[in-house]
């Protein structure tokens, strides 16, 4: 294979463009100046302290946590049903049904958020944290289905038959054999859905009732230049948490596949 130097340059430039802005986060989070500019002024942890003292931020964080936990639980539960159905059962229009479940993954979120808003208002449903959870479930479910389908697919069907053959019922087979074997996939799905929900902005902004939500709150803070360093500090923490969660999720997904002796066919990392 020939090695073209221009391709190398392209790859480096591409990666820089992607990750350099994120690398700036910790830089300015610890920079002792309210102005986001070079040269750097010196090291400080004041911004973390300022962030910590912000009561609104805590409310926003609590709300986001409620939303992220609920929507990841709901999306994963729905994902288990869909993944089980797609890997075990035949039913009419299976391809179309599964395609429609996966569609929100590629649909512009803007359109999703707008149409949901129109429907909710038409139905007279008051906007609240609950409506945001509904929207997030819609966006998270395709990811849950993708992860869980890979977990269910690597499950040998004869394992279920063997348990059944040895005297178990379908319910106890699910509990004793299927659930433990897909558990890594379930954990992985929960963590990824949690991360997606926590980061999500458009739906949180459209379907919220004004209660502070983390992503929306951060966006609001950018209007005040003085607040920007504290937001940088918060952003730095969120990046660290996201990377940790995704790594744990991928670890569990891979361990699950290795355990059942399957081949790795999906995943995000």
């Amino acid at each position: 294979m020939s090695k073209s130097p221009s391709l190398k340059v392209y790859v480096i430039a591409y990666l820089l463009f992607l990750y350099a802005p994120i690398a700036l986060l910790p830089l300015f989070a610890f920079n002792d100046s309210r102005v986001i500019a070079f040269p750097l002024a010196g090291f400080t942890t004041n911004w973390f302290a300022e962030m910590w003292a912000d009561a609104n931020l805590f409310t926003a964080f609590r709300n986001s946590l409620i939303i992220a936990v609920s929507s990841s639980l709901l999306a994963t539960t729905l994902g288990v049903f869909a993944a089980r159905a797609s890997t075990r059962y035949k039913f009419p229009a299976k391809g179309a049904v599964l395609g429609l479940i996966m569609l929100p993954m590629v649909l512009p979120e803007m359109i999703l958020a707008m149409s949901l808003l129109v429907v909710l208002i038409a139905l007279g449903v008051p906007l609240s944290i609950f409506t945001i959870i509904l929207g997030h479930v819609l966006v998270c479910t395709p990811f849950a289905v993708a992860i869980l389908t890979s977990a269910f697919q690597s499950l040998d069907r004869s394992l279920e038959e063997a348990a059944y053959d040895l005297g178990e019922t379908s319910a106890s087979t699910f509990r004793l054999i299927i659930l433990p074997l897909v558990m890594p996939g379930i954990i992985s799905s929960l963590l990824i859905c949690f991360t997606i929900s926590l980061d999500e902005f458009i739906i949180s902004n459209f379907l919220g009732s004004g209660d502070p939500i983390l992503s929306v709150y951060i966006f609001g803070q950018f209007r005040f230049p003085a607040k920007v360093p504290a937001v940088m500090a918060l952003g730095f923490i969120l990046v660290c948490v996201s990377i940790c969660l995704l790594t744990i999720a991928e670890y569990f997904r891979r361990r699950g596949i290795a355990k059942t002796g399957g081949k790795d066919t999906g995943g995000f990392l």
Binding site: S158, D165, I177, K259
Partner: protein, 366 residues
């Protein structure tokens, strides 16, 4: 008590199975006796695994009846049938240890913990895995998984043990070792074993009786020797080992003997048990196994009849040599096998050969 006196364990009564339009089982009638090592043999797609799964209860039948120990299994789900299965993939639960796997079926057993642990230890010892109880199941080799699957199924003392191509994933050496071990195990526990296989040699080695299946039907059900020496049709003969076929002409059929004139071999008279109804493919054909033809070397005389031919191909296998010999007046060469013994030459291609044969070894398909 000979095998034939034993009571019936499994009975198939005109079993049909459809998958949509596809007719997978086309009227299966057979009985399997208690304590028998029985094989379902056939090419892939012949319905043998489907038939096995109708015994286990994993497949519903479209019509007919499957009886186990005299009871109809209609409406009886797999988890309460007196059968246990060893799966092709072994289906070892990867998240459980060896002893948890083996003891899985005892979960609903009212016995005490100690008694169950003892039963697990005994089952492991029986399959030669003593001391492996604490190991993680997913770390075992193929042969060990096989043994765990056997112990897990046998611990429940089923009336029938079903084995779905259990040896196909093992290498040749391991397979031969497991064949012997399965026979030993079956004699030890006395349970009816039903084996599904596409390997004719495996079936011949292990079984008391074999059902050969093609396209959803049983083509012949017999003991290994009958199956080999008196195959019911050309198709069965071809599937089990090698058989040479030559066209023949029927001269007379007195009931007691059948006179024929076969290409290359000339006239001969056959006993009624040598005459098979065949496939109904039209025209009579004789069949001869390779080892029933012998090359006569200098000074040897035929014990029965003799025929001349020309060696067309020689394949040397070490212990055996295979020859393709074309007889005078025929168009297809005969395959024959000769054991190599010291001092006996291996013939070259083109050499003239005298072949010894006997009409008693001939099968006629008509």
């Amino acid at each position: 008590m000979t095998a034939a006196d034993k009571p019936n364990m499994i009975e198939f009564r005109d079993v049909h199975k459809y998958y949509g339009e596809y007719h997978a089982l086309r009227g299966i009638n057979a009985t399997i006796r208690a304590g028998e090592f029985f094989s379902l043999l056939g090419p892939s797609g012949c319905g043998k695994t489907t038939l096995l799964r109708t015994i286990a209860g994993f497949e519903d039948i479209s019509s007919g009846a499957v009886m186990i120990d005299g009871k109809s299994m209609a409406g009886v789900p797999a988890n309460v049938r007196p059968t246990n299965m060893v799966f092709q993939s072994y289906a070892i639960f990867p998240h459980l240890s060896v002893e948890e796997n083996v003891g899985f079926g005892l979960r609903r057993d009212p016995r005490s913990k100690e008694e169950k642990a003892k039963a697990v230890a005994e089952a492991l010892e029986m399959v030669g895995l003593k001391g492996y109880g604490k190991r993680a199941a997913h770390a075992l080799s193929g042969g060990q998984r096989q043994r765990v699957a056997l112990a897990r199924a046998l611990i429940l003392k089923p009336k029938v043990l079903l084995l779905d191509e259990p040896l196909s994933a093992l290498d040749k050496k391991m397979r031969e070792q497991m064949q012997v071990e399965l026979i030993r195990l079956q004699r030890q526990v006395g349970i009816t074993f039903i084996l599904v296989t596409h390997d004719q040699e495996e079936a011949l080695v292990m079984s008391d009786r074999i059902a050969v299946m093609f396209e959803g039907q049983i083509a012949q059900l017999a003991d290994p020797e009958t199956l080999y020496r008196r195959p019911a049709s050309k198709k069965v003969a071809d599937f089990i080992g090698t058989m040479n076929f030559l066209p023949a002409q029927l001269i007379s059929d007195s009931g007691a003997t059948v006179e024929i004139d076969a290409a290359g071999f000339g006239r001969m008279s056959l006993a009624p048990d040598q005459v098979m109804s065949g496939d109904g493919e039209g025209g009579a054909t004789i069949g001869l196994r390779p080892e029933t033809l012998t090359i006569l070397f200098d000074g040897q005389t035929a014990s029965d009849r003799e025929v001349l031919g020309t060696v067309e191909e020689v394949v040397y296998y070490g212990d055996m040599t295979y020859y393709d010999v074309k007889l005078e007046g025929t168009s297809v060469p005969m395959r024959l096998s000769m054991r190599n013994v010291p001092g006996r030459p291996v013939l070259d291609r083109g050499a003239k050969a005298r072949l010894g044969w006997s009409p008693g070894a001939v099968v006629l398909f008509r």
